[in-house]
């Protein structure tokens, strides 16, 4: 009678220390990946890290120089660099959706009525209904984070980037990891392969329905079918960086395989605020001058006013916001 089940590597039988958060385990002796039920799992890939501390410093410098050029950021200091291997599931599917509905829109038409003296043109708006019967057929790769209920800084962006770079992934090799990515904080997946497939499927459904709703005013029917074409477990190296400027901390995330900045925060300095406030005021002044010289034309002041208001809406936001988030 055994009440207790012990975890062992299915490949080399070495005992395993299992973390409560994991759904995939890597044996410390032979590196073989296995699932919680003890089955061997081979679809484990990794995006190889190409960065080191020095390159990280260069990327941060370049990012601040390029994206923060109007801010006068001098004398920032990198205070914390944490490299992690983030677990992702890439669910590849062949998806097919058929949807039916209609699109309603208005067309403007002009026509001439009357004759002789009473001849005039009338503009009228016509409501038109266009039936829609369309198909979506695509091969997809949906990316999801292998952690439950969690989110990481720049999550939505990193999914897009992993999708784009997924083809560069190589077979996961435990020995190589020990040698090259030793400093990395290794995170395994909490989501098992079946749940990953299910969540991936939900993704495809939601996405295709959203596409259908975008194409139609009203969707009558929308049905999706899909076949799974392989599910891969991919580790991506993400460098999380904190830097300090004037005693305040800002964060950045960089993908270690290509050096792309996933997302970064930038300080909003007083210079930056003043620039945007001046822009707002100048714009208003410019609109005033234009309106003054073309004051006999009614549409010039109206357009000038709207343009100044719309642009001012955003420039004022830059004047007041606490920090910028750029990707």
């Amino acid at each position: 009678m055994s009440l207790v089940k012990k975890f062992q590597c299915p490949h080399c039988n070495a005992p395993m220390d299992v973390n409560p958060e994991d759904a995939i385990f890597n044996c410390v002796s032979c590196g073989q990946a296995s699932l919680a039920d003890g089955a061997i799992f081979d679809n484990h890939y990794i995006l190889r890290n190409t960065l080191n501390q020095k390159k990280i410093h260069d990327i941060v410098k370049e990012f601040i120089r390029k994206k923060g050029f109007m801010r006068g950021i001098k004398g920032y200091k990198i205070t914390n660099i944490t490299p992690s291997l983030m677990p992702f599931w890439v669910v590849t599917t062949d998806a097919y959706t058929h949807f039916v509905g209609y699109l309603r829109y208005t067309e403007t038409r002009t026509r001439t009525v009357g004759s002789g003296k009473n001849r005039r043109t009338v503009t009228e708006h016509v409501t038109v209904y266009r039936p829609i019967d369309r198909e979506i057929r695509e091969k997809r790769a949906d990316v999801l984070l292998g952690r439950r209920g969690s989110s990481i800084f720049g999550y939505e962006r990193v999914k897009d980037i992993v999708r784009a770079e997924f083809t560069n992934a190589v077979q996961f090799n435990h020995d190589q990891l020990q040698a090259d990515e030793k400093e990395f904080n290794y995170l395994s997946s909490e989501i098992n392969i079946d749940a990953a497939n299910q969540l991936g499927k939900t993704h495809v459904f939601d996405n295709h329905r959203a596409q259908a709703e975008k194409a139609c005013t009203k969707v009558f029917d929308c049905a999706t079918q899909l076949t799974f074409e392989g599910t891969y477990f991919v580790h991506a190296p993400v460098w999380q960086i904190e830097y300090e400027f004037k005693g305040e901390t800002y964060r950045m995330a960089i993908l270690g395989s290509s050096g792309r900045v996933i997302i970064g925060e930038l300080p909003v300095t007083t210079t930056f605020r003043i620039i945007f406030l001046s822009l707002t005021v100048l714009l208003l002044g410019g609109a005033g001058v234009a309106s003054y010289f073309l004051r006999h034309l009614v549409y010039v002041p109206i357009i000038a006013g709207i343009v100044a208001a719309v642009i001012g809406f955003f420039t004022l936001k830059n004047t007041f916001k606490p920090k910028s988030v750029v990707d």
Partner: protein, 329 residues
Amino acid sequence: MSVRSIMCPNCAAPLELEATQSHVTCPYCSVTSELKKVSELIEHFMLPVVYNVEQIRTELVGDILKHPGVPEDLHKSLKVTKLDLKFFPYFIVTVHLRTEYKGNGEYATFSNRYKSGYRHISTHLKPEQGIFDDTREFIIYAAEDVNNELLNFEISTRGKRYFQALEAEKVKADVVPSIFDLDQAKNEATNQMREIHKGLMLKELAQILEVRDKPDVEGVYLLHIPFYFIEFEAAGKKHEAILDGATGRTVITTVPRETSYWVQVGILTTLFAGIGLAGIFFAIQSTLFNFQYFGIFGAIAGLILAGRTLQLGLKSRYRETQKSRKRRS
């Protein structure tokens, strides 16, 4: 809490574990064992308090200082008057639901051809049936008092460990009990899932006649997350803030401002509003000054910008992360 002992199945070393513990790692041979008889127990985790009081104050001050018009010496002058540390319960539930539905769906016939469409549409009903079958993850806030800030906070579950009441005691934190037990949490998540399917059904059908569903909870755990509730004094006023003790993120804080900031916002608003009012005056009196339509620009831009300045300038709450910013990929 009662303690049980078992023998390590690998090396026969004696192991002790608490009543609610489901996994144990042998300190001698490092084999992890799972106790099968405890399957009914909730997997219960906690996030450790990574930030101590001093560090959390630094995080709070750092976030406030990013705003314009705050006192610059805040690192020294901010005075914490009250500080509570509480662990709040969240259930994380993965639900699979298969819904079979029958009803009447709409379809349309079009008539009266016009360019690439039709002028007339008439909709009819026809019997329709289908299946929704998907899996989603729900985060269920399980504390009794509803705190909207904590309800909408984008939690992080990284670095969780098995819950230990001792650890909460050590940092003098209250543990807020969950109002749901395991089954209620599952039901709550299943109901949220049903709502989603109901929404989808209403998109497909005009009348729902028959629904059969089969829920299946694929995973559930309870997680206690530490939050700091802080009352502080700055710039001569009382303020409140909530911070996440595990990640140091600011859930919400009110932002203390200096008087000069209010003066600046006031001047700016007056300037824009002045241009707006002058514009209205000129537009109405256009014939009098022979200015014609000159004033219209000011009436539009000035008033909108004055409103925007007030809206942004008076905003006194700051949240570091928010849930709603989801981009569908």
